[in-house]
Symmetry: D2
Subunit: 243 residues, 4 copies
């Protein structure tokens, strides 16, 4: 937790991109009402509580309009859910790297399966994130695509088979070979990127299995956001990173 | 200005969609750095100053991440630049009506020429705005499209020939017949929608001509955002609505 | 059928857009294997047989690569399933009006629910079709959108509620008010456009009900393409236009 | 040229994907009127003439509607300009692998800079091409993206910096390091893919330089299609592959 504090401090003051702590749990708030507006702030505070109690890095990815309020309320890293590969200018309705950075974002998801980008735009978006010292987390749907993306040097690659997203059937347990193949292929060309897995992660055991397979964390959404008591699950996830 | 206050009060408290004052000047901040973050707040404050001094309704459309800060800082109406036609749920990276409403938005631009939508999505997005009592301002590029959109019952229709956007050549002076044809065609099927024009509006005279042609206001961007002294231009625009 | 012959003759020789006979049945081949390549030709020949026997206009909409072979094999009107709003030039992988016209197309579907377009692109695509004397058939999903499109002056408007497409539950029987509202709204602004309905049309009775509701024909796909004996259904549809 | 004949024979009869001869010149007809309809056939015949005289493999990529006529008229390989990552079914207006294969295509361009795809769709489209024994030629805009694509195992990778397309300034001469870096990065992960370069190729020397840099051919469009005498340029290009 001290670590995270320092990370944020560096991020804001020096605008140098900080090194991410591992393991990391990123909670994607999607467009869920349970994580919109004041509820986004409250969910982020629960994540921060679990972070402070365990020291495990938990990041949150609220909607664009909620970034400011969440970033002002917690010290854990805040991610945008998407940015566009545009420079400042006449791009009405687009999401500018400068804007989410200024709002307090520490990084951004890119190419989530619900917000996919053209190949050249993934490259351009990673560059835009780099240019504003935003941590880039690119989502992919299979090992080959993960390796392809590894060549574009994002900070984080998250493998998420779309068919498992929102199902409660964890990728780490249902498709362990998808995870291990991703790690194997990515590591051939990229030693540094953090590798996460996501889709269906809903129990602490899903998290510990993911780490045992060789990932450095998980990307999770409904498993937390839709939980009856998100704090309990967050705490369970954080604790499970040590099992 | 009292009017605007009341408008906002109704909007927030009753979640009933308020009647818009006329004329109205909407300032689209696009993704300009001159209107990002703290600068978005400052520009909105200049717009509010011109509004308070003249009583003319001036609305601002900042980037998604800036809506909260702008809406907390001023009493004039705040528009989102875009919302997506999605319901709450698993829509990572999309812009939810509920989210921008909660952040303080009073309305939203829809189908700006830099963020165009499929026809059925314009319809669905207007419905989503209506469902959350957000004023819908649909942008179109020619009179026929304006009439087409008029059938979908948005609150505001703004005609903006894309070839003039950002040129400083005002639609109201360079293509008056585009404006008058829009009004004629729209009024055949829709008595209520406010009709604005935009593209190239940079002088007070462009505004007064627009109103004389029969519009109820203007949608403007670079003419204000890129101005050396935006307040002076805003004040000039507001004053020109009475000429 | 003589009528159709003349129609095609005019279309090809004079490049004047011909008047469409009514009623009209358009068979959309989609990307079904049952209507690809040689099977597209054979299905079109069955449609032509039913046309010759009954005099009822039956048009077919094969895939782009099949237009030439189908148009060379039959005298009934051939539609493209889509064209892009581009002019001749550097538009790799797009579908040019000139190209499908040259291949023998008589018209084109536009904005099918499986290939939706931005609003401004629907307008531009209708203009491109007009410029090359191609009959434009714009698909819409509800009465308001149909009225909106009516302002853009397509030759044909086809109302197809997406939730019924491919279900075998006919729009004409399950949602008659969708059809009659479409006609009512469209006719307020457009006297000339042919109005079709589609989605779930699978029995002759669905066709006769559609005509009784006030349409001038139907747009059909799986009901014919996936039928055990498409000729029998086509003949039944054609006969039903007189009941 | 005998080689090409055999290649086509294998392609059509066995539906086994043939080995491509090297070097290869692919002529993209785009949506140019100079290469539409009968003119597409004539241009393909000029390419075939240059092929027969020199033995150098020249392939042509006409518009979808022209594939049948071109493939029936020449023995050189014919490419589609794009296919969609869809299976046979309800995909109105899409381009099905089965359809272009049946029309006589030997391969397809994928992700041309004028028809870019989402990352996951590039992968799915290559698989669709493989499934129908179509040669896949994926276009990319920089060396990193080429390496990323190399992981997806297309048959051909063509590097084309978009800023040079249509300029007459050849990539091979203006940006030789773009070409050599592409080769270096691709070969780290993929020994088999043919590597082409494109953009601005307009003189025989541009071709010979491209080969000397280590490519196995070029992808060319306006340099041939817009030439006063395309045959002369085609012949010059073919001859230049031996210099």
């Amino acid at each position: 937790m001290i670590l995270i504090l320092n990370v944020n401090a560096i991020s804001v003051k020096n605008t140098l991109k900080p090194k991410l702590p591992k393991p990391i749990i990123i909670v994607n708030f999607k467009n869920y009402l349970e994580a919109t507006g004041q509820k986004a702030v409250e969910l982020a505070q629960k994540a921060e509580k679990a972070n402070k109690e365990t020291g495990v890095c938990i990041a949150v990815a609220p909607q664009f309009s909620d970034i400011v309020r969440v970033a002002e309320s917690v010290e854990i890293p805040v991610f945008a859910q998407h940015i566009d590969p545009v420079m400042p200018g006449a791009f009405t309705g687009h999401v500018l790297a400068e804007s989410v950075k200024d709002a307090g974002a520490y990084g951004t998801l890119i190419n989530h399966s619900e917000r996919q980008l053209k190949l050249a735009d993934i490259d351009a978006t990673i560059r835009r994130a780099n240019g504003k010292d935003l941590i880039s987390c690119v989502c992919t749907s299979n090992p080959q695509l993960s390796a392809a993306v590894a060549y574009l040097n994002p900070d984080i690659i998250s493998i998420e088979p779309p068919e498992l997203i929102g199902t409660g059937i964890a990728v780490s347990k249902a498709q362990p070979e998808t995870v291990t193949n991703t790690i194997k292929l990515v590591r051939k060309v990229n030693d540094e990127a953090i590798i996460l897995c996501g889709a269906g992660i809903s129990h602490g055991e899903d998290v510990s299995v993911a780490l045992k397979l060789g990932t450095q964390g998980v990307l999770v959404a409904s498993g937390i956001v839709k939980a009856k008591d998100p704090y309990i699950i967050l705490r369970d996830f954080a604790d499970s990173t040590r099992k």
